[in-house]
């Protein structure tokens, strides 16, 4: 589900500290880009999409913790994506979809798919899935979560 890192944790921490722009939060402009891409991955319909379900918040919370090994990948990946597709945010939703479908396999977008799915479908305790949006969509909210459901 996620790539094997060939960096040891100690080496990684050194590198991550050297990365200037990324702490626990994306700045306003980067956040808009990430959130637009996430919304493409899980779009809103009659049920919340990635944006309303708080997938960005999931990512920010976890990048400060267990996902911090991906911090550099985000910094580099987003920078490359923005410079390659500078007009992306100005495009219509449908045109954005078309662009992403046509761009071929892209490591940055693949990483974002995984983390967006984690944020949307994972337990709210991890920082996403606001209001148990995905569980309600699937009709399984009473079975999931902290384990307080007792019997069928």
């Amino acid at each position: 589900m996620h790539s094997m890192s060939d960096l040891g944790r100690r080496e990684f921490v050194v590198l991550a500290t050297a990365a200037p722009a990324f702490g626990a939060r994306f700045d306003g402009e980067d956040a808009r880009w990430i959130e637009a891409l996430m919304e493409q991955i899980v779009p809103e319909d009659d049920v919340a999409g990635a944006k309303k379900a708080g997938c960005l918040s999931y990512l920010e919370v976890q990048l400060a913790g267990p996902l911090k090994r991906f911090a550099l990948d985000y910094e580099q990946g987003l920078r490359e994506f923005r410079s390659k597709y500078p007009k992306f945010l100005e495009m219509s939703f449908a045109d954005q979809t078309g662009l992403l479908e046509g761009m071929g396999r892209n490591a940055f977008f693949e990483m974002l798919i995984d983390h967006t799915m984690q944020g949307f479908y994972g337990s709210p305790e991890h920082g996403g899935n606001r209001g148990e949006a995905s569980w309600k969509m699937m009709g399984i909210e009473k079975y999931m979560g902290g384990g307080h459901w007792h019997g069928a």
Binding site: T97, Q118, M137
Partner: protein, 551 residues
């Protein structure tokens, strides 16, 4: 620092070590039980699915942690890369009191008689170290029974026509079928199969002071909210401690089995939770640290008399690493087949474990445990399905409750080349040389996997699935929670690591009580077999004369 010697020191408070601790403590021995993890309560981990034993994208709920542990793994391209415990390639098994049994799904299988006679049944296989066990099903039957009654297994005796002879039935009736099982039972019979309720170390009724299962769907990957699961953490380990003869020391990382000038084990060296190096002397040492860590410990315990590590005179320690080449299928249905009633895995069949034409071995087939929404989103899709976007979301919404999976732990044929060895460079946070893992599955396993997936698909179609897609194993060496084979039993001292009593061939007071000793690993979840062997090994230790008999 050297502590006062005790009778026995056990490395690993998991499925096997917990049993040996209880048996020896009850016999009056002074026991020290060392565990690298902690005692963990349900409230620490809950059912927070991204940090569990089912998916570790946010880390391992039950350890080990990414900060202090590392291994090395060979990629398909032959490169060595570092892997952390939360990476798939690490081959993790929970590092916690209870070990794998704290977070396992608790299927409690007896291997079939033929599983102990794979070489006799199928003959020599090129490229495989396929052998018979030096013990038979008949040798183990009474110990299986003891494990079933002490840990608490629910099931229906006689319902599996392929099972070996058993003395007593199960101590508890089976858990009731959920909707998936109710659909699969008649469908299986219709196509000539013999499905039955899965035997599980889960209380269907209150048992030995622990309550009955509340049928939540979170068994595999989580600890049990109500202690209905017969983990050693809530069964035999508390009983060991209650004797007053057993001391459990947690967060202790064993670095070496110590031996004397005659080549006998004299104890172990470990780092305590403050990082201090401690020597614990003992008359008998039992290693029960799982197939990867047990091999690592034996290989790291080099002396003049054991220049290649303990039990490793013939270079067999760490080899024959095996797990299960899981294979199966998912089916989509017009109607809802998911009802959220746990334990979700409720029905199995052993029609395809053996006797499959042109196939070596096979697998038990069972319906799947919980399909976590995130894992469902990432891995349960027919070929060509949308991987993101509106179509992906719609698929999730439409099919989650209208799908079910059947899969089986394909019995792998062991390979000499599939191995755990000491990495020449990389060390963990304690400075202990870590392992590197390498190898690939035998072509036979992939063939068996394809066969088993076809049978799973057929069962789903018989149950009314409108679309079926197979899931097949990858080529890489497996292990994971079912890891086994790295210190196998043998009849003579010319090969392998331990004798038929699970005693290391070249260290007369050193025993192994985990999956390492499995010659082959059955087409089943292996925990009950590890545990039955642990009961048997305990008797061998008691009879060995290392410790004078006590009243």
């Amino acid at each position: 620092m050297a502590l006062d010697p005790v009778d026995v020191v056990i490395v690993g408070a998991g499925g096997g070590g917990g049993i040996v601790a209880k048996q020896l403590a009850e016999a009056g021995w002074r026991v020290v039980l060392l565990e690298r993890g902690r005692t963990q309560n349900f409230s620490e981990t809950g059912h927070y699915e991204l940090r569990s034993q089912r998916t570790t994208v946010l880390g391992n709920a039950f350890g080990p942690d990414d900060e202090r542990h590392v291994r090395v793994r060979q990629t398909d391209g032959g490169e060595w890369v570092k892997v952390l415990p939360s990476d798939g390639g690490y081959n993790n098994i929970a590092a916690v009191v209870g070990g794998g049994t704290l977070s396992y799904g608790a299927m409690a299988w007896r291997f079939l008689p033929k599983d102990f006679r794979m070489r006799s049944t199928y003959g020599a296989l090129t490229g495989s170290t396929l052998e018979d066990w030096p013990v038979s099903y008949e040798d183990l039957a009474a110990y299986y029974e003891k494990a079933e009654w002490e840990l608490g297994v629910s099931g229906k005796a006689g319902a599996n026509p392929f099972e070996g002879p058993r003395g007593k039935g199960y101590p508890m009736p089976p858990l009731p079928f959920n909707r998936e099982a109710s659909v699969l039972a008649p469908a299986g019979r219709k196509i000539g199969m013999h499905p039955f309720p899965i035997p599980m170390a889960i209380n269907s009724v209150p048992y030995e002071g622990r309550g009955a299962c509340i049928q939540c769907p979170h068994c595999v990957g989580f600890s049990c909210e109500v202690d209905a699961k017969g983990s050693t953490a809530v069964t035999v380990i508390p009983r060991a401690l209650a004797t007053g003869n057993c001391e459990l020391r947690t967060e202790c990382v064993v670095s070496e089995v110590l031996t004397d000038e005659k080549g006998r084990a004299r104890g172990v060296a470990y780092f305590d939770r403050e990082g201090k190096l401690v020597e614990q002397g003992a008359k008998v040492v039992v290693v029960a640290a799982s197939a990867t860590e047990t091999a690592r410990l034996l290989l790291n315990s080099k002396t003049k008399l054991h220049p290649h590590g303990l039990g490793n005179r013939h270079d067999w320690v760490g080899r024959n690493l095996q797990g299960h080449a899981y294979s199966g299928a998912f089916g989509l249905f017009d109607q809802e087949v998911w009802d959220g009633v746990g334990p979700a895995a409720r029905i199995a069949a052993c029609d395809f474990n053996h006797g499959n034409e042109g196939i070596v071995g096979g697998a038990m087939l069972a319906n799947e445990f919980i399909r976590m929404p995130y894992l469902f989103a990432r891995s349960v899709r027919p070929p060509g399905a949308a991987r993101w976007g509106k179509a992906h979301k719609d698929w999730q919404r439409k099919w989650y409750k209208r799908s079910m999976g059947i899969k089986g732990p394909v019995q792998e044929v062991p390979r000499w080349e599939n191995r755990v060895e000491i990495d020449p460079r990389v060390k963990d946070a304690w400075g202990i040389p870590t392992v590197r893992l390498s190898g690939a599955k035998h072509a036979s396993d992939l063939k068996t996997g394809k066969f088993v997936a076809g049978k799973a698909a057929a069962w789903l179609r018989a149950a009314g699935a409108i679309e079926v897609f197979e899931t097949l194993p990858g080529r890489g060496v497996s292990g994971g929670q079912h890891q086994a084979g790295t210190a196998r039993m043998s009849k003579d001292a010319k090969s392998e690591a331990v004798d038929a009593d699970c005693r290391v061939w070249d260290v007369e007071n050193l025993y192994i009580a985990d999956g390492s000793v499995h010659v082959t690993n059955g087409g089943f979840n292996p925990s009950l077999t590890i545990q039955a062997l642990a009961y048997r090994t305990n008797e061998k230790i008691l009879a060995s004369g290392h410790i004078p008999k006590r009243q």
